[in-house]
Symmetry: C2
Subunit: 299 residues, 2 copies
């Protein structure tokens, strides 16, 4: 019906960072354990920590300790989010394999969240790249890429041009994030028409569209997706919820479409059960709740 | 990227029947009111009741009273589910505009749920059609069309051949139902390759795939979908949940894709709030919880 789907995709697991960030603090050893179990399930890129102020984000305290504790596995990239040069220095000292930096495409959101203009924030990303000097790759995450609650739709050309500016400023790759759950297949198509498919996507389930957006992107040739174990992140059961696309739900879909991820779904579901125990509440992943479609009733 | 999407789709709202069926009984007047509010929002086909044993399904008791109480609007089809000839007689006496009859594609499911073989169940559907004698259209709903928890995947040819048998037996149209949430875009494509796009789809959110399946079907030219206000139906918050595709979530997506439904999203959301009040608990619709993407923050 349409062009063949990619044979394989790269999944960046962001649960231990983006997911746990929104939860009550969890012991460093438990965070390291969760990362190891996810890697055992086949995850090859994982946001392990954020080097942010522990005062501002208590649940990310001890980022260096988490990275020191993990039994590193060859072929796996252990990544960290950094908001500034100080964070980048700490992350490099902790031996991360790559960094994420976030710059919002929305002026309103940028001012509200980091008290910088989009341009100032892009400059800081460039300063981080100079500091890193090519020692590890830097993924620039463009937040509010599919719309902002302050300005509504942001033109695809404007969003893509911010992505290009970040690449020009030293980022190795760009991921477009649907921070507020405003992406739709139409918005995805509009952006990809400008950027081409060599981008990462970070999708949210706020309006139930994460999987349909991933599918639309896959049809357009995108092969990099962020997901979070269990759909951790935001407060998915509250009104205006903002959960990440659940790793289980995407892997379940991709398995059925015969798109390789390298991740074993049953072991991933076990990792999800560990994560559920750690955070102490149910998670939004539907596949975690219902089980994979291949799991039949015992009659 | 792919063929253009259909310009318009027909939505059959099943909340007052399929949705409320799973809830504690609600007063007849409230059920009639909900139907009227949904019609006011632009719904043109609505399953208003099921003529089933009130002992077996207490929440569907008073089906005739619901239909008698509704202020009928021209151009709207008020439909009922009937399990047998007795139900069909009662539904016709109540002046319904059309009937739904369900036949499972899964032997295991059919035996477990209606204590008949698939073949016996198809025969009963044929007997209903003879009784109705063309006075109103009959939609045959093939349940477990995309897999069964008892037998796993059921071959598309087998499912489609059951659909054809039901058409040959007097049904006016066929809807394929993902009763147990096992549909995926691959399974949807496999079935539609055999049936063509002139079918209805009844999708479930059990594994988070309802919207992506609807999108895949839309790309293949399908223009008839069942949805339920709020995603009512099943027990969506329990493990193994089985909510219907929420009307709000599909209309929200279709609005953005510029596929016409004739339904006004804001009025639909108001109907959802009424339904939430009637059932007394939150509903799974994500758009109901988060609001439409067009609703911006007040800064």
């Amino acid at each position: 019906m349409s062009a063949p789907l990619p044979a394989a995709v790269r999944i960046r697991e962001v649960g231990p960072r983006d997911g746990l960030q929104a939860e009550a603090p969890i012991a460093v050893a438990d965070r390291a354990k969760l990362i190891e179990v996810l890697v055992d399930a086949g995850v090859r890129e994982i946001e392990a920590a954020a080097f942010v102020s522990p005062k501002a984000v208590p649940s990310m305290a001890g980022a260096g300790d988490v990275l020191a504790l993990i039994q590193r596995r060859p072929g796996v990239s252990y990544l960290a989010l950094v908001p500034n040069r100080r964070g980048a220095e700490l992350a490099l000292a902790a031996g991360v394999d790559g960094l994420s930096v976030t710059v919002s495409a929305s002026e309103g959101y940028s001012q509200k969240n980091v008290r910088m203009s989009v341009s100032e924030s892009a400059q800081e990303a460039g300063a981080i790249a100079i500091l890193v000097g090519g020692r590890v790759p830097i993924d620039a995450v463009v937040s509010c890429a599919f719309g902002s609650p302050y300005e509504g739709d942001i033109a695809a050309r404007k969003v893509a041009s911010l992505g290009q500016r970040l690449l020009d400023g030293g980022a190795t790759s760009v991921t477009y994030a649907d921070t507020t759950g405003m992406a739709t297949p139409r918005r995805i198509a509009e952006l990809l028409e400008v950027t081409g498919p060599q981008v990462g996507l970070h999708l949210h389930e706020t309006r139930g569209t994460a999987l349909v957006n991933a599918y639309a992107a896959l049809q357009a040739g995108v092969t990099r997706f962020d997901t979070s174990i269990g759909g951790l992140g935001g407060s998915p059961f509250a009104a205006g919820s903002a959960g990440n696309l659940a790793t289980e739900d995407l892997v379940h879909l991709l398995d059925d479409l015969e798109v390789r991820t390298g991740i074993d779904l049953e072991r991933l579901l076990a990792a999800g059960r560990l994560a559920t125990g750690l955070v102490g509440h149910d998670m939004p992943s539907r596949v975690a709740a219902a089980g994979p479609r291949s799991r039949l009733a015992i009659s």
